[in-house]
């Protein structure tokens, strides 16, 4: 069986205004049902690696394969479609669209994928219920607590039933109670639902809860434990 995510000897260099090497010769494999944390000091390339995994950026050299599909030669439209169907993002700041309700935010990726509004909102309701915020669906993000917003963001990431969840400091803006809840949810998504979860984090609790920790330094993988 192929790995869910395979990164082979990836480098990423910015050339403008002057050359900066963000990632150097990074290789990484994530299996289904695995919760992986990427840790390291600020500026070590954690987020840059995450954006490559999420197909938001292209490596300068090396390859990224997701669910058996090589992404290097895909067009921007194909990469976007792959992202829509198989990848879910959770960011440090919930990044919900402020004009839409929680239901509207969660339904958005489904609607973009062609699901009708009623069906998308019904499934969005189920996801919110699963995350313990069933009653908050009609609220806008500014009327919700930080923990609720982040759970809405997780529900949005799960909307199209992706195989890979990517978290960029998902607990960085939460108190300890909500942080624990999010970590537990990530573990459940990996271990019970068989998804791959990759989190960039500074949070020791997240790192400790992960199955594997990848330590990065100066754009390279320093070690793994």
């Amino acid at each position: 069986m192929t790995a869910l995510l395979a990164v082979r000897q990836v480098s990423r260099t910015l050339v403008d205004p002057e050359p900066v090497s963000l990632l150097r010769d990074v290789s990484l494999v994530v299996e289904r049902g695995e919760f992986v944390a990427i840790v390291g000091p600020s500026g070590c390339g954690k987020s840059s690696l995450l954006y490559l995994l999420g197909l938001l950026d292209r490596p300068t050299t090396g390859s990224v394969t997701i669910d058996g599909e090589a992404t290097d030669d895909l067009s921007e439209a194909q990469r976007t479609h792959l992202r829509l169907a198989r990848i879910g993002f959770v960011f440090q700041f919930h990044f919900l669209l402020p004009e839409l309700t929680a239901l509207g935010n969660v339904a958005l990726p489904m609607r973009r994928a062609g699901v009708g509004r009623a069906q998308a909102e019904a499934r969005a309701g189920e996801l919110l219920a699963k995350l313990g915020i069933a009653g908050e669906g009609w609220k806008r993000p500014d009327r919700m607590s930080g923990g609720q917003r982040q759970r809405v963001a997780i529900a949005r990431a799960l909307a199209n039933d992706p195989v890979l969840i990517l978290g960029d400091e998902p607990t960085g803006n939460l108190d300890s109670v909500n942080s624990t809840r999010v970590v537990e949810e990530f573990r459940r998504l990996a271990h019970e639902e068989g998804r791959g979860v990759v989190c960039v984090t500074h949070d020791r609790e997240v790192a400790d809860a992960a199955d594997r920790r990848i330590h990065m330094l100066d754009g390279r993988i320093e070690r793994e434990d």
Binding site: S47, T80, R83, L84, F91, L97, L108, R112, G114
Partner: protein, 418 residues
């Protein structure tokens, strides 16, 4: 379709959140469209009225006893390719008048819905109480001529048909009558260049102020065709045919076709009014240039609104891209914003324009003490032009910032936000 609805939902949500900017931009478009309709309604209305007058006030085609080019010399036909140049030609004295005019008249009348009438026109002098005036006398068939051109409405004191009962009757313009001191019912002494003199009684006066169309001039008069033939000593001769067509716009083509068949000059109303029609085209170009400028200014509101929306929503754009929305999706969201403002603005502009046109129509305007009714064009075509121009301007105005939004690099934004 579902995807487009989703994008439309996001666009509408953006507009609702920025309600003040949306209203300002919409009002700008509405004012632009409203004034577009009001001004073009007046300009096009007056132009249509003017053209209608051009068409109605005179025959659609006038056939004259003249040709556009000189007669071809028989020598050129006798030695085709041999005769290079014919010199020393002494032109033959031509007998004026349309030859074979009954056949031409029948041909013109054979056109669907056409009315045609013969006429003999020439110069005469009119004398009354010792005063003499040169006059262009038109010998006409009153029954037919009344259907050909709107002379009847400008007559005072009598009707065109009165000429039939009085072969010695004449209709002159009021200014001419004033100049010679004559009144309705007076008898004028009319003399032609053929040396024939006849006493003619004034049966009606042409009132210049009442003329809906072109005023042929003070020194124009109308008499019976038979009387004119006697005065000019040219029995059974006519030198003009007047034709009215069912479709005035076909006059140019019809005249060209019949001129090719008969050789005489068949002059359409478009040809007679070529300079005026060209002037109207230039006027229309200026009108639409000014109107486009108004809409362009209105579209700045859309540009500003969508631009600031793009600037405010850079983070949301990055999130949408991360979620799986394409560049095209992002561009469409902001294009929809511009188009929605354009569409609502156009609708409001239609209401404003209709109200302005109504106000103009009801305005108590007078010219020389007489009420003036402005001819206005309130046709659906004007609304369609204004709507299309507005939506075009909205599309262009929204496209620039929308394109900028599509080119936002989500990584740059997310990296900055982290």
């Amino acid at each position: 379709m579902g995807g487009l609805l989703t994008l439309a939902d996001i666009a509408l949500a953006h507009l609702i959140v920025r309600v003040r900017q949306t209203i300002v931009a919409t009002l700008g478009v509405a004012v632009g469209v409203g004034f577009f309709l009001a001004v073009s309604g007046m300009m096009v209305g007056s132009e249509n009225d003017f053209v209608r007058t051009l068409i109605d006030s005179a025959p659609h085609i006038i056939v004259r006893d003249e040709q556009r080019t000189g007669a071809r010399q028989p020598a050129l036909d006798a030695w085709p390719g041999g005769a290079v140049e014919v010199r020393g030609i002494k032109p033959e004295e031509e007998v004026r008048g349309l030859k074979d005019w009954p056949a031409m008249l029948a041909d013109a009348r054979a056109l669907p819905g056409a009315i045609a009438a013969p006429s003999l026109s020439g110069a005469v002098t009119v004398r009354f109480a010792g005063r003499t005036e040169p006059v262009a006398l038109n010998g006409i068939d009153p029954r037919l001529e009344g259907k050909l051109a709107k002379i009847e409405v400008s007559l005072v004191g009598g009707r065109l048909a009165d000429l039939e009962a009085r072969p010695d009757g004449i209709i002159v313009t009021r200014p001419l009558a004033d100049r010679v001191g004559a009144k309705l019912g007076d008898t004028l002494l009319v003399a032609s260049s053929a040396g024939v003199t006849q006493r003619m009684r004034i049966l009606a006066l042409v009132e210049p102020d009442a003329i809906a169309g072109f005023y042929a001039g003070d020194n124009t008069a109308y008499g019976l065709l038979r009387t004119a033939q006697v005065l000019f000593a040219r029995p059974n001769v006519v030198n003009q045919l007047h034709v009215k067509l069912a479709d005035p716009d076909a006059a140019d083509a019809t005249a060209a076709r019949l001129e090719g068949r008969w050789g005489y000059k068949w002059e359409s109303w478009q040809e007679r009014s070529r300079d005026l029609l060209n002037l109207l085209v230039a006027r229309k170009v200026v009108l639409y240039a000014v109107m486009s400028a108004i809409l362009l200014v209105a579209s700045f509101g859309i540009y500003t609104g969508v631009s600031s929306s793009v600037a405010d929503k850079r983070r949301d754009i990055a999130i949408l891209r991360a979620m799986g929305f394409t560049e095209q999706d992002v561009q469409s969201i902001f294009l929809i914003e511009g188009m929605v403002v354009g569409a609502i603005g156009a609708m409001a502009g239609f209401a404003l324009g209709t109200a302005l046109l109504e106000a103009i129509a009801r305005a108590p305007l007078t010219v020389q003490g007489k009420p003036l009714v402005l001819p206005l064009d309130r046709s659906a075509q004007q609304y369609m032009i204004a709507g299309a121009a507005c939506m075009g301007a909205a599309l262009v105005a929204a496209w620039l910032p929308a394109r900028r939004a599509a080119l936002v690099d989500p990584v740059d934004i997310l990296r900055g936000a982290a």
